[in-house]
């Protein structure tokens, strides 16, 4: 059964069962590897993508629920070959060790900055409560998001 899905502005027909987790469709059918499998239970945030602008954990989000909606993944953030300010800030702050959590965190942060362009440190931390980082890069990641917020509101 085919389900129609809009990802990063492009429409795709996907032949998968409706209850399939969106994550597997993104990674295996659409070859978008930026959303990562971390837990499969919506506990760690490594798979975070935006559905109609809201962050969802795609490992725990059925394909059917994404049908007809607009899905944005990390691959859809750059514009005309220019990185999103969040991506640029992560590079400038060197805010990664293994980097496995980074794409999910950037997507969560994007949803935050889209609704709240100048968040406080506390608001950023709260927004990231569904995202885990195991390497201990927290402090740099928080700095990177602050940097991107400044850049975006310039």
């Amino acid at each position: 059964m085919a389900i129609t899905l809009t990802v990063n502005g492009r429409t795709h027909e996907v032949a998968a069962e409706p209850e399939t987790a969106l994550l597997y469709v993104l990674r295996n059918d659409l070859k978008l590897k930026g959303a990562r499998f971390g837990c499969g239970m919506g506990q760690c945030g490594a798979c975070t993508v935006l559905v109609d602008g809201k962050p969802v954990q795609s490992c725990d989000f059925p394909l059917s629920a994404a049908a007809g909606k607009s899905v944005t993944t990390i691959e859809g953030l750059a514009r005309n070959g220019k990185l999103h300010p969040l991506q640029q800030a992560f590079i400038e702050e060197q805010a990664a060790q293994c980097g496995y959590c980074a794409t999910g965190i950037i997507m969560t942060a994007k949803a935050l900055l889209d609704t709240k362009p100048r968040p406080t440190d506390g608001e950023i931390r709260t927004a990231l409560k569904g995202n885990l980082c195991r390497c201990g890069t927290h402090y740099r990641i928080l700095r990177a998001i602050q940097r991107a917020a400044k850049e975006l509101s310039r």
């Binding site: 239970m41 992560f90 590079i91 885990l132």
Partner: protein, 709 residues
């Protein structure tokens, strides 16, 4: 006259010793690039960027010209494991000498080509120029035979004073891909015809598969093969979600016979186990010992601690024409291959093991096990690659944990408050059960097959680096000292190397006890440490961190907030780290701020060092405050992030790292130096804040309340 034996080959520095040919390490390409072949692998620590800096520096070429070949058993040097904070020491040193020698060989060719002496030549980005005029490039001089020779290590690497690239912060090369979602990890590997596999692990360590309706699973949509061999049970499907559905069904219908007996939850079960006891340090000065006026004793414990990589272990394998290709995030592709060969029943040469990045790796996790899983499944579908990804619960329940430990300490003080005697006993399992062809097979699935392989006997890496006894011998100068390592051989829970090995518990104990002794002596903890330390580099990091944090002599917490110090020289031979931690006691203990000073000798990439140091600190805060693997008497109970909470963004501290730069000293391993000092500094800060002494990790709310009452 007796015949003299042939001269032993000269000892070469770092990993050159075991991989002696220059072309094993470097290739100068005619297209204006240099290829380096590291045997160490990226595990999230940024090593590849540092190695690139080393090669560019010694060869006098720009960073952009240096390519690193993926680590691969078909051509890479065998550097064993990427572990123990040895990558700069082993691999970095090898590449430093190899590149220095390659540069010299190129200059000799240039001198001949230009008809001038070596002294006339200078190099800029691979262009060799003679003072008298005339130039030639490396790329013109290079040929296949240039580096086809054994290294001599006779060409000294550059002194720090002439470094232009080493010592400068260099952005990590892999970060842009990792923040844009470009495929970077073995998890992202996509091969034509690739299938998806999952393993249905037993419910407990020794459980045996007693029954299964195979037909029911075979009939599920997309299922290509069910692989059953003894108690090893896996499924292969066309699509990943189909493999998952089959796994769920397998878990529901498979019947297991369980017989596992796990120990009690308190780490002190170790005290009742048989142990192999070795006195690893003994100093005697009876006259000084006689001055003892006060004596203190204390016991410290650490629980089983999970690596808990954010991404579960993953591997891809293909079986074709009787041989295997395995893509893995293992920390040691050659050691892994040594254990794969007997299980797969082929010669090592028939297995190509290729490294790809994984999620952050803090020691021996499930990476190697997943590699065997994928190979066993691939064998069932010749020609088709099989990708196996562990589930979250596989990772938590089957990875080898950092071992639980108990450390008992006794200290005597004289009337002036000096330590005159120190007695220490440590109980622990081995901290290394990695694969490496050590007589058995250290890969999970191998133990579950119908014809199982025995595990290799556990190794406890020897001192001075040590395993369970890593950092067990205090670096302080005590006139009387007796340290006994009690190695417990029975391993009821699967354990192996976790970042810093025994150093975490040993430093936690030693540094907590130093504070207890300082308090008994009425001394300031910073001054008390300095009083017992001669090594000027050790003193310098303590003095630096005290100054940066604005430490006030005998400062006291206010019942809620407090600060504490922790210090160690990792492995008693690698980097020096001192930390001051500020905690705040609310509903839970919170670490608000950490100051750290680190001396790692010559620093290749200062930002890389700071990143590793910050990360080590935050991870150790998590260990100290929150982490312990849960189990009952038969099963591991920890299976997801709810069972095993780690530090969140809301809880993470502000971290300020100061690098004490020593460019004229040899580089010192720095990936694991913060674990022990962080944990100890937190315990000391809690005591400073509230007057309670926590001696059992983790420092949870329940433990604080129990200590208060």
């Amino acid at each position: 006259m007796s015949q003299s034996a042939p001269a032993a080959p000269r000892k070469l520095p770092g990993s050159l010793e075991a991989n002696r040919r220059l072309d094993r390490w470097l290739r100068i390409n005619r297209d204006g690039t240099v290829t380096a072949f590291p045997g160490k692998v990226e595990i999230g620590q940024g090593i590849l960027t540092a190695l690139t800096q080393i090669v560019a520096e010694e060869l006098d070429v720009s960073l952009e010209r240096v390519r690193l070949a993926p680590t691969d058993t078909r051509y890479s040097p065998d550097e064993g494991m990427t572990s123990g904070s040895m990558s700069i020491t082993d691999g970095g040193t090898a590449l430093r000498y190899a590149a220095a020698e390659a540069r010299d060989l190129l200059l000799q060719r240039a001198a001949a080509r230009l008809g001038v002496s070596l002294e006339q030549l200078s190099v800029a980005d691979g262009v060799v120029s003679a003072r008298s005029g005339g130039s030639v490039t490396y790329w013109d001089l290079a040929s296949d035979d240039l580096l086809a020779r054994e290294a001599t290590a006779e060409i000294a690497p550059k002194p720090a004073s002439s470094h232009k690239i080493i010592g400068k912060p260099e952005p990590r090369r892999d970060i842009p891909a990792k923040v844009t979602g470009t495929p970077s990890y073995v998890h992202d590997l996509e091969l034509p015809g690739m299938l998806h596999g999952r393993i249905a692990r037993p419910p407990s360590y020794d459980a045996r598969l007693a029954g299964l309706d195979e037909a029911e699973v075979r009939a599920l949509p997309g299922v290509v093969k069910l692989v059953r061999d003894g108690s090893f049970l896996g499924v292969i499907a066309e699509r990943e979600e189909q493999a998952l559905r089959a796994l769920t069904r397998l878990k529901r219908i498979a019947r297991w016979e369980e017989s596992t007996a796990l120990p009690e939850a308190d780490p002190r079960f170790l005290l009742k186990e048989a142990s192999e006891d070795t006195v690893i340090s003994e100093k005697k000065d009876a006259a000084v010992a006689g001055r003892a006026a006060k004596s203190l004793e204390a016991e410290y414990t650490r629980p089983y601690t999970a690596h808990a990589a954010l991404g579960p272990s993953c591997a891809v394998a293909r079986f074709e024409d009787g041989g295997y290709t395995v893509w893995t995030h293992s920390q040691g592709i050659y050691p892994l291959r040594r254990d794969l060969a007997p299980v797969l029943g082929v010669a090592e040469e028939r297995i190509a093991v290729i490294h790809m990045d994984g999620a952050g790796c803090y020691g021996h996790n499930g990476a190697d096990d997943a590699a065997l899983d994928s190979a066993l499944l691939a064998r069932a579908v010749p020609g088709r690659p099989v990708r196996v990804q562990w589930m979250r619960e596989d990772e938590f329940q089957w990875e080898p944990y950092g071992p639980t430990m108990v450390v008992k300490l006794k200290g005597d003080l004289d009337r002036e408050g000096n330590v005159v005697a120190w007695t220490e006993d440590i109980w622990s399992n081995s901290h290394s059960t990695r694969p490496n062809g050590l007589g058995g097979v250290n890969l999970l699935a191998a133990w579950h097959l119908a014809k199982p392989h025995e595990a290799s006997p556990p190794r406890n890496p020897p001192l001075p680096g040590g395993g369970s006894h890593r950092n067990a011998i205090p670096i302080y100068e005590f006139p009387n000292e007796r340290v006994t390592n009690r190695l417990v051989k029975r391993m009821p829970v699967r354990v192996s190397a976790l970042r810093a090995l025994g150093a975490t518990a040993n430093i936690f104990a030693i540094e907590s006890f130093m504070d207890e002794l300082a308090a008994a002596a009425g001394a300031d903890p910073v001054e008390f440490r300095l009083r017992h330390l001669k090594d000027p580099r050790a003193r310098a990091v303590i003095e630096t961190v005290a100054a940066k944090a604005g430490w006030r002599k005998r400062e006291k917490g206010d019942g809620v907030r407090g600060r504490g110090i922790g210090f160690a020289r990792y492995k008693n031979g690698a980097c020096y780290v001192a930390e001051i931690v500020e905690v705040e006691a609310g509903n839970e203990i919170a670490v608000k701020r950490v100051w750290a000073a680190i001396d790692a000798g010559l620093v290749i990439n200062p930002d890389g060092l700071v990143n590793q140091t910050e990360g080590g600190i935050i991870q150790a805060v998590s260990w100290a405050l929150k982490e312990a693997v849960q189990y009952d008497r038969s099963r591991i109970l920890t299976s997801n992030w709810i069972d095993y909470p780690i530090l969140t963004f809301e809880e993470s501290p502000v971290v300020e790292v100061t690098v004490v730069n020593r460019p004229d000293q040899a580089p010192l391993g720095a990936g694991e130096g913060t674990q022990g000092p962080t944990v100890a500094a937190i315990a000391n800060a809690i005591h400073n804040a509230m007057g309670v002494r926590l001696r059992d990790m983790p420092f949870t709310r329940e433990r604080v309340l129990a200590a208060l009452s």
